[in-house]
């Protein structure tokens, strides 16, 4: 009770002055600011109650009292103690940092004012958190220790206890289908060998309701129209470590569909809607087909802007004849328009880079297919990790929505110097800068300075995906390469090439591009009679503008041919290539795609004026097929063929194809598959056929976008039908017999194994362990053997 009220005359008392006692942290100005009463006011019980409530509402005070001292109103307050220290012990499942962050928002952190009710709420919050993790035996106790100076120390001690497991899921009353089949798709499971990984033996109410829904559709998809789950019981063992779920069902009978009708306001021609109906009179009742029909109709209406249309299938069941007549009632609701399209969550990308991918325009009607397509196009940008989209209704306008994209940027690129490692070139010192969203413009810029043991290369390429509003992509690239051996395995071979190229890709439909490009190349090859393989020497001597120089000619007058084994063969030539291509790409993402297909066909042809003439064609297919639950199969097929033209004897050595290694047939050393030169080192061939089949295993949610685990089977090899006379290993008396590397099935090398890909800031790390299935161990009389390698690793560009 408030003493003042008691003593005040009925008319209350005027406040002469106000004095506040007990303030420590809060300043008087603050109290005056919140106090609804000031000097000169009439004070009656109502105003007093109001003031008390106002002061308590500030949350600063544990206790507030008002006294009257003559004409002065005295307010005695006791401030809430401040928290001096706060610690949590015994929490294992929930990390301390997460706890501290969420508790700080609730006001429980060092320095904040302490409020006992908040502490109780936190205890309840923690208990609920542990219940949701299945730890029902948890005990949370909080100790608050008063410390002089109105401060408190808080210690929360958590004893988590054992995690309750689902001991039994029992469906009672099912005669038509056995428990195992019904529980096949359930999320909740009794403990099994995968439980430690999937945590599926932990009870959660949402999961149970989800499973009941699956049970209902299992029955209703097979004709049990009035199947019903009569009741479910969740029982816990007294020791709170086991949980028993009992689902009591009443199956009812199998129903046939007698009749299918359409009703309601059909804004599009009825025939078109009728074509979408997947369930016909005479079929067994199936909810799956009914839902599929309604989805198809909704999608169709969505085309025309009726994004919020509803279609509900009204069944009338006749229990005697066990027949059901279905009426699909169409309600298009009003057509919805888009007011604004917003992009949130990114700071590093210009708005136009997203907006130009939009298939849904502002000021147009909302088409859900257009929005979905737009989301996919953004998701395919290499520098985007995750995209969510939501149509938020505009307040005050029933038919307007804003389309809000929530975009999470991924790894745009790297700027790195330092050490790179690749099988063929061992340690590479390189400075590479690759950015797929240079300055936020969405242009891809790549500059590379590369001085490996075998290859020095300086290259620059720039790709602008939108030179025109419709997305004509232009790529300009120029580069200089000086490679003593283009793969570390080949014999001495010096190639110096300077290239300049420009290419345009024209979108001809939503998923397909036609491309045209030109590239000019100035190349110079050099081989030595001693160190290089015979095949290489042949090529250099017969193509381009061959020249022979003597390495160690002491007497200039004597012609070089006198020193056959010390001569240096050199050939310099120019080529102008026309590159044309077609590509189809419907993958849902560029990195770690999970669905869709990419096909690329490209032809290049040397134009007149080239001193070395050849043509090449290559085709590659990348396809993702979901096979079972969330397992996916990935096919990666690559085939290429090239032929020399005119008086060129063979494809230039640096345009030969190689195989083996992480990107082709794993289990074989990089580029070691295919024809071997006279020293037994890979020479490459003009026919390449490689196929990789990978079974992608499902990944837990939080690693889905950054890692991939798969089992694979690779098959492939490189062949040559050019007129190059390859020779095999020297036989016992040193003679090397000719070898034919023509295409043949049993020469296709195969391997199987397991692979892991991890998207790290530096790029995509690829690890694979493979077992070659039909490798030829060691040199046989006629052929060089294969070089195999179980564990392979490489750092690749992600995009």
């Amino acid at each position: 009770a408030w003493p003042v009220a008691a003593t005040a005359q009925s008319s209350g008392f005027t406040v002469g002055d106000i004095r506040i006692e007990g303030l420590q942290r809060i300043s008087e100005g603050t109290v005056y600011n919140y106090l609804p009463v000031n000097i000169g006011d009439q004070l009656d019980p109502r105003r007093v109650a109001e003031s008390m409530r106002a002061l308590y509402a500030t949350g600063f005070f544990r206790d507030v009292e008002m006294r009257r001292d003559g004409g002065t109103l005295v307010i005695a307050v006791v401030e809430r103690p401040s928290i001096e220290s706060f610690e949590i012990k015994g929490n294992k499942d929930i990390k301390t940092e997460d706890l501290q962050r969420s508790l700080r928002n609730v006001g429980l952190a060092t320095g904040k004012t302490f409020d006992q009710s908040v502490l109780d709420e936190v205890k309840q919050y923690l208990t609920d958190q542990y219940f949701s993790r299945g730890k029902y035996a948890v005990r949370v106790d909080a100790k608050v220790e008063e410390v002089p100076g109105n401060k408190v120390k808080i210690a929360i001690d958590i004893n988590e206890g054992k995690r309750a497991r689902i001991r039994q899921i029992n469906i009672a009353g099912n005669t038509a289908f056995p428990d195992e089949d019904l529980q096949e798709g359930f999320e909740l499971k009794t403990p099994n060998w995968l439980s430690w990984y999937r945590q599926d033996d932990r009870y959660a109410r949402e999961a149970l309701s989800g499973d009941l829904e699956k049970l209902r559709s299992y029955y209703m998809d097979r004709g049990y129209a009035n199947f019903a789950v009569t009741s479910t019981q969740v029982a816990i063992a007294p020791e709170k470590d086991d949980i028993f779920v009992t689902v009591n069902v009443n199956e009812g009978d199998v129903f046939k569909v007698s009749e299918v009708k359409l009703a309601g306001n059909m804004v599009i021609p009825e025939s078109e809607l009728r074509r979408l109906i997947l369930i016909q009179p005479g079929d067994t009742y199936s909810r799956k087909f009914i839902t599929a029909t309604t989805e198809a109709m909704k999608l169709r209406l969505g085309f025309d802007g009726y994004a919020f249309a509803t279609i509900d299938p009204v069944p009338q069941a006749n229990n005697e004849t066990k027949e059901i007549s279905l009426t699909f009632v169409v309600d298009p609701k009003n057509r919805v328009y888009v007011r604004r399209v917003n992009f949130n969550g990114t700071t590093g990308v210009n708005d136009e880079v997203f907006r130009r991918e939009m298939r849904q325009l502002e000021g147009a009607y909302l088409s859900n297919t257009a929005v979905e397509r737009s989301k996919q196009r953004i998701q395919r940008l290499p520098f985007i990790e995750k995209v969510e989209v939501e149509n938020t209704p505009v307040p005050g306008a029933a038919d307007l929505v804003d389309v809000d994209f929530e975009i999470k940027e991924g790894l745009p690129g790297q700027f790195g110097g330092g050490v790179g490692y690749s099988e063929s070139q061992s340690v590479i010192l390189n400075g590479s800068f690759t950015h797929s969203n240079f300055m936020g413009t969405g242009n891809r810029v790549q500059a590379e300075i590369n001085s490996g043991k075998y290859a020095k290369s300086y290259s620059f390429s720039h790709t602008d995906p939108y030179t025109t509003i419709d997305g004509v992509r232009r790529t300009v690239s120029l580069g200089y390469r000086d490679v003593t051996q283009f793969t570390s395995a080949t014999s001495d071979f010096d190639t110096t090439t300077a290239t300049l190229g420009i290419g345009y890709d024209y979108p001809i439909t939503e998923y397909q591009y036609l491309s045209f490009g030109l590239s000019a190349q100035q190349a110079e090859l050099a081989t030595t009679s001693l160190g290089s393989a015979a095949e290489a020497n042949d090529w250099v001597q017969n193509n381009g503008n061959p020249r022979t120089e003597c390495l160690s000619q002491t007497d200039l007058t004597v012609p070089c041919s006198e020193y056959p084994n010390y001569s240096l063969f050199r050939s310099k030539f120019r080529t102008f290539e026309l590159n044309t291509g077609w590509s189809f790409d419907s993958r849902n993402r560029t990195i770690f795609a999970t669905s869709g297909t990419r096909q690329r066909l490209s032809l290049s042809y040397t134009l007149p004026g080239s001193e070395v003439e050849f043509w090449t064609v290559s085709y590659d297919l990348l396809k993702f097929i979901p096979i079972w639950r969330d397992f996916k199969l990935m096919f990666n097929i690559e085939a290429a063929y090239g032929e020399p033209l005119g008086d060129t004897t063979g494809l230039p050595p640096y345009r030969q194809y190689f195989a083996g290694g992480p990107d082709s047939v794993r289990g074989f050393r990089e580029s070691r598959l295919g024809p071997k030169d006279s020293f037994g080192r890979p020479y490459g061939g003009n026919i390449k056929t490689v196929a990789q089949t990978e079974l992608l295993l499902p990944m837990p949610e939080k690693w889905r976008n950054s890692a991939r685990f798969s089992l694979f089977y690779d098959i492939g090899n490189v062949f040559s039908n050019q007129d190059i006379n390859f020779v095999g290993p020297p036989d016992v008396n040193g003679v090397q017999h000719p070898v034919d590397y023509k295409f043949s099935y049993d020469e296709l090398r195969q391997s199987a194994g397991v692979a892991v890909q991890w998207l790290a800031p530096l790029g995509v790390f690829r690890f694979s362990y493979a077992i070659p299935l039909n490798d030829e161990r060691g040199d046989t009389a006629t052929r060089y053997g294969d070089e195999t390698e179980g564990f392979q690793f490489s750092i690749g560009q992600a995009f």
Binding site: T127, A137, R163, A172, T175, T246
Partner: protein
């Protein structure tokens, strides 16, 4: 890899001075692994024959004296409750919601009926009816001759309950049964009318766990008084005719209790055995040496109490003081249901389906009837 340890671990066994001799008379092994499914399979002894059933569907009748098999039958049902024997019929309930009745003399199947819900409480044979209680709060009276439903009663079941349900008990022409919502009801055995309905164990607290208020153990009727105990609630004495509560004390038990003229011997939910005076519930003694060992309800065996624990140990406590007087290890499997005492012998069934017959005598008595 469950590395978390128990919040508070079960008590360790301490060796004791044996003051009671225990002999195993016979034992037999039924199949069916029902570890920690906490079923209600418990042997029943009628006129010198022990009837027992196991989770894999095997039902046997053996001679109580020597354990020789009278008949055995495989029912291919996942039996979960029973057997209950009466009027020449043996009745069991299964996890999949079936009730099966066999002829007590030869095990031939009389009838079989599906009632669409798990049976976790031992059926009750009452004159020409058998009363079945299922986990969805359903009490049903079936005809003993052909299993036709005579009447049914349904009680509300809270969202989260304790595993197990209370078996119905016959008192005159009334069926008394406790339910998972903390209520005890009396039903007229003839027509299923609910005579009275008393809340013994009201739920309290914030979380669903705190609000658990099941009455999962069997009520005991003696004269006009009904004794009942609930989980996280109360032990109480009710009037048989009106259900009015005479006295009630705070107690928490899911295994239940047994009774003699003087006291109630109760195993509480912490597995502490408590003796309370029947008249007013005053606590006589408490034995907490076996704390948290998942003890069964006590069974009166002479002047001792027999309890089984979660590691298959049998313990005998002195009825007057609660002191532990004997201990014997069975097959190491959890003993979920209390033993049955009949004519000086006790029969107990472990979760792995092993049925053991024992006789225990106190040291002094031994000298008296050692000749038997």
């Amino acid at each position: 890899c469950d590395k978390d340890k128990d919040v508070d671990p079960p008590a360790e066994l301490v060796d004791i001075v044996a003051k009671r001799n225990v002999q195993e008379i016979w034992s037999l092994g039924l199949g069916g692994d029902s570890e920690n499914l906490r079923l209600a399979l418990r042997p029943t002894v009628v006129e010198g024959t022990v009837y027992a059933a196991s989770h894999d569907g095997e039902v046997v009748a053996v001679n109580a004296e020597n354990g020789r098999r009278v008949w055995g039958v495989k029912t291919k049902l996942s039996l979960a409750a029973g057997p209950a024997v009466g009027s020449g019929v043996v009745v069991m309930g299964s996890s999949d919601g079936d009730v099966i009745a066999l002829d007590a003399s030869n095990g031939q199947q009389r009838w079989r009926k599906a009632i669409n819900s798990e049976v976790l409480a031992s059926p009750l044979v009452a004159s020409d009816l058998v009363i079945i209680r299922t986990v969805d709060g359903h009490l049903e009276g079936l005809s003993l001759t052909d299993g036709a439903t005579r009447w049914a009663v349904d009680e509300q079941v809270p969202r989260l309950t304790l595993r197990g349900t209370a078996p119905p008990v016959l008192a005159g022409d009334r069926i008394i049964a406790g339910f998972d919502n903390g209520r005890v009801i009396a039903v007229d055995v003839r027509n299923g009318d609910v005579l009275w309905d008393t809340i013994v164990n009201a739920p309290h607290g914030r979380t669903e766990l705190e609000r658990l208020s099941d009455i999962d153990s069997s009520v005991h009727v003696s004269g006009d008084d009904i004794f009942v105990v609930g989980f996280q609630g109360r032990v109480a004495m009710l009037a048989l005719d009106s259900g009015q509560i005479w006295w009630a004390r705070d107690a928490s038990s899911y295994r239940g209790f047994s009774m003699d003229d003087e006291n109630i011997y109760l195993t509480n939910s912490d597995s502490v055995v408590v003796a309370m005076r029947r008249a007013d519930g005053a606590v006589q003694w408490e034995q907490s040496a076996l704390r948290r060992r998942g003890l069964t309800a006590p069974t009166i065996d002479g002047d001792s109490l027999l309890v089984g624990d979660f590691e298959g140990y049998l313990h005998w406590l002195d009825k007057s003081s609660g002191e532990i007087v004997a201990r014997r290890k069975t097959d190491g499997e959890r003993i979920t249901n209390a033993a049955i005492a009949q004519d000086g012998r006790t029969f107990v069934q472990t979760d792995s389906g092993k049925v053991i017959a024992l006789r225990s005598t106190s040291r002094e008595e031994r000298t008296a009837d050692s000749g038997q």
